[in-house]
């Protein structure tokens, strides 16, 4: 790693102020950032640690029935505390990385990084979440902007994520066998106004909504409604773990399984 300072602010305001420094970077759980720093692929002047900010921690239910998760909340906390409110999201969180990673990695960090194979982008997009930052509220549909890219500005922090609770939902992850990230992950959520299907791991553009499947499932929420539907292999990621055609095929399989398992 290159040398840098670490600051540990205790409020969002202090963190935002600290992030104004040139080449300062936010450090959330660090489970992706720290390996990146070790490889000397990033050269921040300072890391602003978010782990000491109490107002970014924890879960609550909003008056309109949405699940609100502080941006600094770990996957482990979501896995245990969201289970009663949004079991599909809790189940998804309980299979990100491994237990030790889940004790550090956070929802805000994951969404801000927007790894094309990460789970949370699918969970947020599939839930039609609202991403709340220190500056604004952003609909998940507008938030992701291609792999490893979001609409967040420099120094902008995800302070909270609000997820409407669906009638039924499920996340199916087919793991990339080495990294255990999603080779293909599909989050299906059924709301009163329609079904959302969000796919991670597959596309060169990062997480996306499979609109044909959403339309079919909104009409008939059953796996058989997907018969004959497929996503094109064009634009799918191809690597040693799976061809583009294989990933496209898995999108269909995992969507069907998620529908069948949704509760």
């Amino acid at each position: 790693m290159y040398a840098f300072e670490i600051e540990r602010p205790s409020t969002i305001a202090d963190a935002v102020a600290a992030l104004q420094a040139e080449d300062a970077q936010a450090l959330s759980g660090g489970q992706t950032l720290i390996p990146t720093l070790k490889a000397r692929l990033a050269m921040p002047s300072a890391l602003i640690s978010l782990s000491g900010i109490g107002e970014m921690q924890g879960l609550c239910m909003s008056d309109d029935g949405a699940l609100c998760i502080g941006g600094g909340t770990t996957h482990a906390t979501v896995a245990s505390e969201a289970a009663a409110h949004y079991p599909a999201l809790a189940a998804m969180a309980s299979h990100i990385g491994d237990p030790a990673v889940r004790n550090r990695g956070t929802i805000g960090g994951s969404l801000a990084n927007n790894d094309p194979s990460a789970c949370y982008p699918a969970g947020a997009l599939g839930s039609g979440a609202t991403i709340i930052t220190n500056a604004r509220e952003i609909a998940a549909d507008d938030f992701f902007d291609g792999m490893f890219t979001t609409v967040l500005d420099e120094g902008e922090l995800i302070t909270e994520v609000r997820l409407p609770i669906p009638q039924a939902a499920n996340y199916q992850k087919f793991v990339q066998p080495a990294s255990r990230f999603a080779l293909v992950g599909v989050f299906v959520a059924k709301y009163a106004d329609g079904v959302r299907v969000a796919v991670t791991g597959a596309s060169e553009e990062g997480v996306f909504r499979w609109s044909e499947a959403e339309a079919a499932l909104s009409a008939d929420f059953s796996a058989s409604a997907l018969d004959g539907l497929s996503v094109p292999a064009d634009g799918m990621i191809a690597d040693l773990h799976g061809s583009a055609a294989y990933r496209a095929h898995l999108v269909g399989v995992m969507t069907g399984r998620a529908v069948a398992a949704a509760s």
Binding site: M1, A3, I34, P35, S49, D98, A100, R104, S179
Partner: protein
């Protein structure tokens, strides 16, 4: 340099560290607690698992400064007060749950955390929990068996010695 203070295996320590000092380097180099190992640089192998405020974390993926004020537990603090092996350590020895020993500290620390949350895990739960702990020697057979034995379950029906 920044001053950090924490409790390591029940002892209070204060040291000056650089921002980039990882918790694992702090433990190994500053505290000379070399039982916590480094087996990869992508936070996957789990040889460095320690406890921070009672939770298992990868000490290679956390900065020492972030453990300021925390209670840190390492493999060196796991034995009973009289120096004898604790129940988990003893089960690993009884069931040959280690060979070269390099992954073992992380395995033991993960097991402590697992059994705290889930005192009687099934085989599948044990295997699932060990997703972040790689072992190249044992094929995991005797590790899983040792963990189930440490939880007080009868493992006599599990194949082989």
């Amino acid at each position: 340099m920044t001053s950090v203070s924490m409790t390591v295996n029940g002892r209070s320590v204060s040291k000056e560290v650089e921002g980039r000092t990882l918790l694992v380097d702090f433990l190994r180099n500053d505290m000379r607690l070399t039982g916590t190992h480094v087996g990869c640089d992508t936070s996957q192998c789990g040889a460095c698992v320690v406890h921070v405020d009672g939770r298992a974390v990868k000490a290679c993926a956390m900065f020492a400064i972030e453990a300021d004020g925390a209670e840190v537990g390492t493999i060196e603090g796991q034995a009973n007060a009289d120096g004898s092996l604790n129940v988990i350590q003893q089960a690993f020895q009884d069931h040959h749950g280690l060979q070269c020993g390099f992954c073992t500290p992380g395995m033991v620390m993960s097991t402590v955390a697992l059994l705290k949350d889930n005192p009687k895990p099934t085989e599948a739960e044990v295997r699932d929990y060990l997703e972040g702990n790689l072992c190249r020697c044992t094929g995991y057979h005797n590790i899983v068996k040792a963990i189930m034995a440490a939880s007080g379950q009868d493992v006599s029906s599990i194949a082989a010695e």
